[in-house]
Amino acid sequence: MNKKNYQKDFFIYGVACFALFFVPLILGNDPFYINKSSTYICLGLLAVSLSLSWGYTGILNLGNAVFFGLGSYCMAMSLKLKTDAVHTGSGGLPDFMVWNNVKTLPWFWEPFHSLTFGVFAGIFVPVLLALALGFSILRGRIAGVYVAIITLAVLLVVYLLIMDQQRYTGGFNGITDLVTLKVGILEFDAYHPATYYLITIVMTIVLFITLLITKSRAGLIFQAIRDDENRVRFLGYDVGNYKTAAMCLSAAIAGIAGMLYTIVMEFASPTFLAVPLSLSIVIWCAVGGRQSLLGSFLGAIVITAGQGFLSESETFLHTWTLVMGFVFVLSVLFLPKGLAGFFEKYFKK
């Protein structure tokens, strides 16, 4: 809030992001690790989006993955329409539509021929959903666990619809066999450092904008709402609007993360907006420190990397979920403010 405090945070965030740019050199551009770290950064960004709505504004959104998933589907739709895959029907009709005996490309797929549109949709479709949610739920004085449950329900509805409408969405298989993203002369292959840098740059920009917002008066008002909603109301603020705004911002971030994720995963799947992922995001933020953007970001990376490592190591092949389970429980018990809180306590000051 005061100047010093500002500069400290911006400095720390700056260092963190700066460091990320050197990862490829450290990894010697090994395509495998490049790809892995790219995916981690996408998920980290996803955690940042929840940190904004939950950690700062106190909206426990158990359905945050829905924004992520929609973003990734938008990107996937654009990339799908560019495939020269053999299965595609007349006029580049996606393979799964051919399989489901769809004859012509449905109207809502048409605009995705343009990548630009795809990218915009990847941000604005989630935001629109967030707006709808905000106006129907948050402005309607629904709070606490009810928000949690309703957002979860919304997530399920979207998930079920995607599963059910597989003639248009690819259903359980998702949208697979995509082309690699090409922008001008640049080709963003999932294993290529170029992709890593793209993701890191986007991440840095988004992270800093978000940080700026949280440091602005609006950001303080978000936190005020988290601490005491009523007091904010009696100071004349329209809490509903602010909550909606927070949700839209976090939706946009999640959407962006989703689009990047599609690029590195090379497909979009309904599991990107299924309950398990959505709950994991909450865990990431809790472990990393929900009230710190960077904390949540790191939380996501620590947890996902940990899971990845354990589930491949021969010793933990069968017990890795036990380990993770313990980590969750213990961190909730002993690190109420997550790793970030821990570090603040013992290392800063």
Partner: protein, 253 residues
């Protein structure tokens, strides 16, 4: 007193909680610039009346007129924008923000999201904040996180939040509850300062404090207005005596 302008009037307000009438056909008139105390035994409906005025609770029937316009059952933030501030019984401040940040949130006239999204702390804000902080005696605590303030300090911080908005009318719910006598005196002083510029309605139990600050006292009983007048009049009103005080004197109630 009658020559004064009527600032707020409640007309036959009824609040019905599934059958239980917490406030029952209640009328109240507040005049510009006065400090009105609202007293009464527990469950008389004092807090509920404040809730009605500031919109926290919606009335089942009746009217609330403020500044000659009806604010009946408006949304809280709209009522607040019309110039009514509310201080709660349990002090409600932003625990995880510093005193300074608390005040910075309150110190704001354009309340829309987009007006605030990229707005940062500047010099003039700082001056205003230090001014109000010294007004409520928190000048040395600006950097402290609110949750570490003493009880009295928390109360004062909330009062500061309310006063910062320069409302025409301030509703105070038991501002001295749980305060040490020293803190109570401080608060009394504070009130007499605020009184100069604002109209107040104060719900209080501490009669000493009430006498200290109030002009007129309204007594509530079972959701109705029982009696109204200055301290001495109330003290001698038999109705009040038997409804509320029993045989004992009001002073040691």
């Amino acid at each position: 007193m009658e020559n004064k302008k009527k600032l707020l009037s409640l007309e036959s307000i009824i609040v019905d909680f599934d059958g239980f009438k917490a406030v029952n056909d209640f009328d109240l008139n507040i005049f510009d610039g006065e400090l009105r105390c609202l007293i009464g035994p527990n469950g008389a409906g004092k807090t509920t009346v404040l809730d009605i005025i500031c919109g926290k609770t919606k009335s089942s029937s009746g009217k609330v007129i403020f500044n000659n316009e009806s604010i009946t059952n408006l949304e809280e933030h709209l009522i607040s924008r019309k110039g009514i501030g509310r201080k709660f019984q349990i002090p409600s401040v932003f625990k995880e923000l510093t005193v300074q940040e608390n005040l910075y949130v309150a110190l704001n006239s354009d309340l829309g999201f987009f007006k605030n999204v990229f707005k940062f702390f500047n010099k003039s804000d700082r001056e205003k904040i230090e001014e109000i902080a010294s007004f409520v005696g928190l000048k040395d605590e600006l950097k402290k996180t609110a949750q570490f303030l003493s009880h009295g300090q928390t109360q004062w911080l909330e009062i500061a939040l309310v006063v910062l908005k320069q409302p025409k009318l301030i509703l105070m719910d038991e501002p001295t509850a749980g305060m040490t006598s020293y803190e109570t005196n401080q608060t009394a002083e504070l009130f007499n300062k605020i009184k100069k510029t604002q109209t107040l309605i104060v719900v209080e139990h501490d009669m000493g404090f009430v006498k200290e600050i109030s002009d007129i006292i309204s007594v509530m009983h079972q959701g109705k207005l029982l009696s109204e007048g200055n301290a001495s009049f109330i003290e001698n009103d038999p109705k009040v005596k038997e409804a509320y005080l029993g045989k004992k004197g009001i002073t040691n109630a």
